[in-house]
Symmetry: C2
Subunit: 312 residues, 2 copies
Amino acid sequence: MSITVVGSVAFDAVKTPFGERERMLGGAATHFALAASFFDEVHVVGRVGADFGDEDLGVLATRGTRIGDVERVPDGKTFFWAGEYGWDLNSRDTLDTQLNVFEDFQPRLSAPSRDCDVLFLANIQPELQLSVLAQCGQLQFVAMDSMNLWIDIARDALVEVIRRVDCVMLNDAELRQLTNRPSIVAAARDVLAMGPSLVVAKQGEYGAALITEDHFFALPAYPLETVVDPTGAGDTFAGGFVGHLARSLDKPLTQPVVRLAMAYGTALASYNVEEFGTERVERLTAGEVDVRVAELRAITQFEHSPAPLETS
Amino acid sequence: MSITVVGSVAFDAVKTPFGERERMLGGAATHFALAASFFDEVHVVGRVGADFGDEDLGVLATRGTRIGDVERVPDGKTFFWAGEYGWDLNSRDTLDTQLNVFEDFQPRLSAPSRDCDVLFLANIQPELQLSVLAQCGQLQFVAMDSMNLWIDIARDALVEVIRRVDCVMLNDAELRQLTNRPSIVAAARDVLAMGPSLVVAKQGEYGAALITEDHFFALPAYPLETVVDPTGAGDTFAGGFVGHLARSLDKPLTQPVVRLAMAYGTALASYNVEEFGTERVERLTAGEVDVRVAELRAITQFEHSPAPLETS
């Protein structure tokens, strides 16, 4: 199996209550690839500027990720985002957005990227997501992300993408906005009715929920005393989630498989937020990921015993 | 064992996207008692007005709850609160608050209420919570709630209450405000350092977390397609949580016991929000509660198998 991710590769400037970075490697495809690379061969499709150094490319290539489809524009500048998080890290203000070379990004997939088994469409214009789908061969599994902007201004194209994927990953507010449903369960059912078989509702510090036609599963975020930088948590989660599914596609995607994928996503996201940008996940080990998955299991299990209420 | 709850008994006027009620039975002690009455003998200590009818008292007495310490003031009016919830039920505006007879509430516990084994101090002035503690005999377990107002204007008395209880139940925002810690884990540790052995962080639609010195446990809310009225969910949760602990006090409060108590609280709260006010929990059965506890287990369990990431 191999996984292709199409999305932003960027520099971020971030200020949180625990410190700041003036320029760090970021972008949805970057965070996704760093997480998914634990599970499978990952191909990144993106566009950067001349300011994107060999060292940055080296980080992107961590754990064997293929970067042949990361186009470096000689006279361009890399997508830049600057933001500042509030005291409890649950709010953030965007201070600056410079699309730069990302503004004219037209994903063109080489043969190895096209021939992937699994595709992750990170948050980009729905029309570009459709063009990627049109380039790919027979895909076994496709997951996607999006954002409020596209729900506002490109709803028809977005719904067309949703119809063609297996898994939609959005945060609670986006699911509500997309469906006009106040309940996440009802919103997810509306999305499932469009075609996908899996909906992941991302809930920030509260974790994530997974909704299928027959099942609901919720997993809290891993409890941390200090969250240093939440940037990229959602894409890191997606990398762990899609990564575990990719390595499991030789069998049907049963509930145990998709639930463990949620745990891998959650574990990886928890490491991501412990340090700035890609700093922690770059040097993370597979053993550390497994330790946290086991801890997630320990903090969520309970027994319905001894006596039920009715007979007590 | 018997449980005493001291707190508000009220009438609420509520408007939600799914309907409205001009006057319905409410109040923290009411919701707590209706839930806790599944587990043990409950004594309610409160104060109401002449407008509080025998039918209202009858609801309060559901499943054998003792209402001898509910003082009915002949020339007074019952505490009245009116509120309106936003579209997704996560925000609410208070439209009216009339304390009425509750303004001069000075809890005086009769012998049966004083001789309880378990006490729940619902959200009232910390000074009144201290006066209740002073009246009670040897208590086996005390839990408390509070609110942002008391953190603002009666912090010293509130901390004094916290020092004397076994369990603090606050929402995330209150825990952060009380401790000035952005992380709920760090905030809970600060509260544990004041004396309690259990902290419950209430998280609304996302469920609740339980923090002790050695353990963390999180349980999502039960997923509902429609939440009709969230009023009283926190106190209903407290009733199920404290109720299960009360019936388990013949043994040490181990993690399996307190985790199952979280599930009982969550199950009861989920029923509470399915209809207005006390309507659903009044006619709820023990069997229905157990069904939902089993469902909560089903939607949170996962296995860390087959192969860990490291060896795959």
